[in-house]
Amino acid sequence: MVKGQIKEQDRLLDQSSLLSIQKNLSGKTRRSDIALIALFLTIVFGLSVAFFIIPDKDFSEEENRVLQGTPSISSPGKFADRLISGKYTSEIAKYYADQFPLRDSFVGLKAAVVLGLGGRENNSIIVGDGGRLAELPASFSEETVKKNTDVLISFAKVAESLGADFTAVAAPRSADVFTPFISSPSPLIYTEETRQAISGGLSVAKYIDLFDTLVPGIAEGEYLYYRTDHHWTTLGAYYGYCELVKSFGITPYSLDDFTISTVSSEFYGTAWSKAGMKWISPDEMQFFRYDGDDLFTTVLENKEETAFDGFYNESYLDKKDKYAAFLSGNNGRVTVTLGYGHGESQPREKMLIIKDSFAHAMVPFLARHFDLEIIDLRYYKSSVSDLIKECGISHVVAIYNYDSFVTENSFNILRLSTEE
């Protein structure tokens, strides 16, 4: 066996690293080596020091999220618990990632490398023709869709038992509508599976799938979805509104009935933030205004109540998340009413909207026909049937995009039990 071991050593000696060590021991110090060490230490120490010097940011406009601050080490007892559970060290890791110097540039560099190597996606955002960004669905599970549609069906039953009708509206995701701009071969998007699973799950209810309403226009270049955000544009939402009210036998307002104004040309949406592709140009955002739309009162009920006139919170137009200008972003419950004495001879019909954020851009249109109660099941914790009763709701409408259907628990299944 001694012989075998010698053979083993020979083989290892053969490897270039050992060769290089031999060289090292006999060789002279090379200036290129000094340069490498200097470069590396400059990078490592430079960034380490910069990390400490540069003040922490609380919020990333670029990514639209709260950043991790210095993990606290006060109160020794709690600190020990957090250390042992690994919470403290994972906070440190997050703290470093969030507050890292030149973070945005590094994120952009990574995207550039990934796309430079011939890829078309980064961080599961695919880039299509014309800088259209779309988030790729991670996978598809019929079960999840079924669970979600079951929640809506149970709301449909609650609504009907209280004398209100129920309509579900689903809008496709960017990835579904941008397929004409994603050159072949394309990744799995599961559009057909998703559509079938949703319509199958909602077959006993009134259901409007907006796929065929929106896709032909988008294929022809109509600006119905933001290129850099996962939402539809105001025009896209307008088409959604038309389909919905037509199903009630109401003639929708025509485009001529609105004054279309571009309120921002600097809208960098969520997909843009995630993709890291800094070279993609921003979106434009439009409001479809009409006479008297500032006479509406919007009441947001979250932790506290706030009210404002009209539907828009224009302060968001100066921030990164401009889509939140519609209805001030996500809130548990929003009430939109037309104040008394504004030309309405009789009380208007009331609609309850159960929704994700896709509904926000539709609200200014629907409010022309109905007084609205809008709830987000993720945040609204009270009983929906009580709400229907108290407010005298005649239409219940669920407005979601496909993503909510394929995502686990976006309808807050747990609270269903409290409903029945």
Binding site: M1, E8, R11, L12, Q15, S16, S17, L18, L19, S20, I21, N24, G27, K28, T29, R30, S32, D33, I34, A35, L36, I37, L39, F40, I43, V44, F45, L47, S48, F51, L83, I84, G86, T89, I92, A93, Y96, A97, F100, R103, F106, V107, L109, K110, A111, V113, L117, G118, G119, R120, N123, A138, S139, F140, S184, P185, S186, P187, L188, Y190
Partner: protein
């Protein structure tokens, strides 16, 4: 803590480098022990005490061995048993309980649900090699607890190897050289390892996750193959990347560790593969298990029995789960076949056939290795051969992933061969301007790695089960 993290590179490493090179040579081992305990305690604030216990036990064993040569065998036996009991308890207790529960009447047994101390399989084997080397007279007793502690805990190889045998670093613990050339060489290895892990392994791993998550009725035959091939790349570049980072960091601190991987995917046989894959583990098992069992000296039957024991242990070492045992048995069968006759056949057939044969069985082996749910593994295996892959031979999504990853796949393939390193050294020797370019490229690679780490959503540590 793992090397491929920002807090390691920009908090731990700079602090350690400053302290290590600021203190006098005499106390550098003590400093190494202190910072290594910190490194380990960062991720395992409680188990660091367990590791300290192991250090004290094995240090004491070495001490007793020297004083008490005639009772050496007993001391070694007791130490080995204690070490293996600790490893067994923390790593395998629940596995045995879970399996015993299946026996009627024993279903009331409760698993403990302890998390596995990171790196316990690596440092236990290292500590054992010390006691055995000293017993065999292959190494001197280490009188300094600080130096012995530094050997066991040495942060570069603490949590994912290579498993450094005591006799290989005995001298270096007493005296080692630090110079610019060594430090630069270590840096290059560190950056190469970091790039393997962050740029290659993580990206390949995300692709494996993608393909394995595709529901069976959407899966294609080619997609299944591409998926497991990506996993094979992930495992190799992840593991050898960690080893490179360990070797590089070691070199920066003045240690020379033996290589742990030697281009395993260019193997011409499975025997060849196991000389090239995780070398420190297979040589540990050979030296401390196979040879003590008698190796191949007691006839064919005993040789195969010894091989069986070694490969069951090798499989089980990788994790407390049946698939690892199965994986070990799989290699026992393949290696036995090669020992019996396949080896001779392989030496006569064209090289290409040897490569294809080896890669085929290595890849199937990895599927077994990655499938803790053995049933799901066999379904996937079926999909690879057309059985139950709901979406046919290939689809648009397979082509999409293939095309978008093509340059990356070429890089993966090239990086699996010795060619890039060979070319690097030839140019490095011949051209001074290349040496400058090489330094610039290494620094640029480090920057790209940082970018990938800053934007990382996927950066797994694969060795929690080891």
């Amino acid at each position: 803590m793992v090397f491929s993290s920002l807090e390691f590179l920009f908090l731990y490493l700079p602090v350690v480098l400053i302290i290590y090179f600021a203190v006098p040579l005499k106390i550098r081992n003590l400093v190494l022990l202190a910072v290594s305990l910190l490194f380990y305690g960062w991720g395992e604030p409680l188990y660091v005490f367990l590791m300290a216990g192991t250090i004290v036990i094995d240090y004491a064993a070495g001490y007793i061995l020297e004083k008490n040569r005639q009772k050496g065998k007993l001391v070694v036996a007791v130490t080995v048993i204690i070490n293996l009991l600790i490893l067994g308890f923390f790593k395998y207790y629940d596995f045995f309980i879970e399996n015993l529960r299946l026996i009627p009447g024993l279903s009331s047994l409760e698993p403990l649900g302890l998390t596995l101390p990171i790196g316990i399989s690596f440092y236990t084997f290292q500590a054992l090699s010390y006691v055995i080397d000293v017993y065999r007279g292959d190494a001197r007793v280490q009188k300094s607890l600080a130096s012995f502690g530094a050997y066991v805990t040495l942060f570069p190889q603490l949590i994912a190897g290579p498993i450094v045998r005591y006799k290989d670093v005995d001298d270096q613990l007493r005296e080692r050289e630090h110079n610019v050339t060594l430090f630069a060489s270590g840096l290059r290895t560190l950056i190469a390892g970091l790039s393997k892990k962050v740029l290659l392994a993580n990206t390949a791993g995300a692709m494996w996750d993608y393909f394995s998550a595709i529901p069976q009725d959407e899966r294609t035959v080619f997609g299944a193959w591409l998926g497991i091939i990506f996993y094979s790349f992930q495992l190799y570049f992840d593991f050898s990347g960690y080893s490179d980072m360990a070797i590089g960091l070691g070199k920066m601190l003045g240690f020379t560790f033996l290589e742990n991987f030697n281009y395993p995917y260019i193997s011409r046989s499975i025997t060849d593969f196991w000389r090239r894959w995780h070398i420190s583990l297979s040589s540990w098992f050979r030296e401390y298990l196979y040879i003590p069992l008698g190796g191949n000296r007691n006839g064919a039957l005993a040789t195969y029995r010894n091989l069986l024991v070694v490969w069951l242990c090798t499989g089980f070492w990788h994790g407390a789960s049946w698939n690892y045992i199965l994986w070990g048995l799989y290699y026992f069968v393949l290696l036995s076949l090669e020992k019996a006759f396949m080896g001779k056949v392989l030496s006569r057939v064209p090289r290409a056939i040897g490569h294809i044969y080896s890669l085929f069985f290595i890849i199937i082996g990895w599927l077994l290795f990655v499938s803790e749910d053995i049933g799901a593994g066999f379904i996937y295996l079926g999909n690879m051969f057309g059985n139950g892959a709901g979406a046919g031979l290939y689809g648009g999504e397979f082509l999409y992933q293939l095309l978008r990853n093509l340059p990356f796949i070429i890089i993966l393939v090239l990086a699996s061969t010795p060619m890039p390193k060979k070319i690097f050294w030839i140019l490095y020797e011949k051209s001074s301007s290349f040496r400058w370019i090489g330094s610039a490229v290494a620094a640029a690679l480090a920057v790209v790695c940082i970018a990938f780490l800053v934007d990382s959503t996927y950066n797994p540590f694969l060795y929690f089960r080891f």
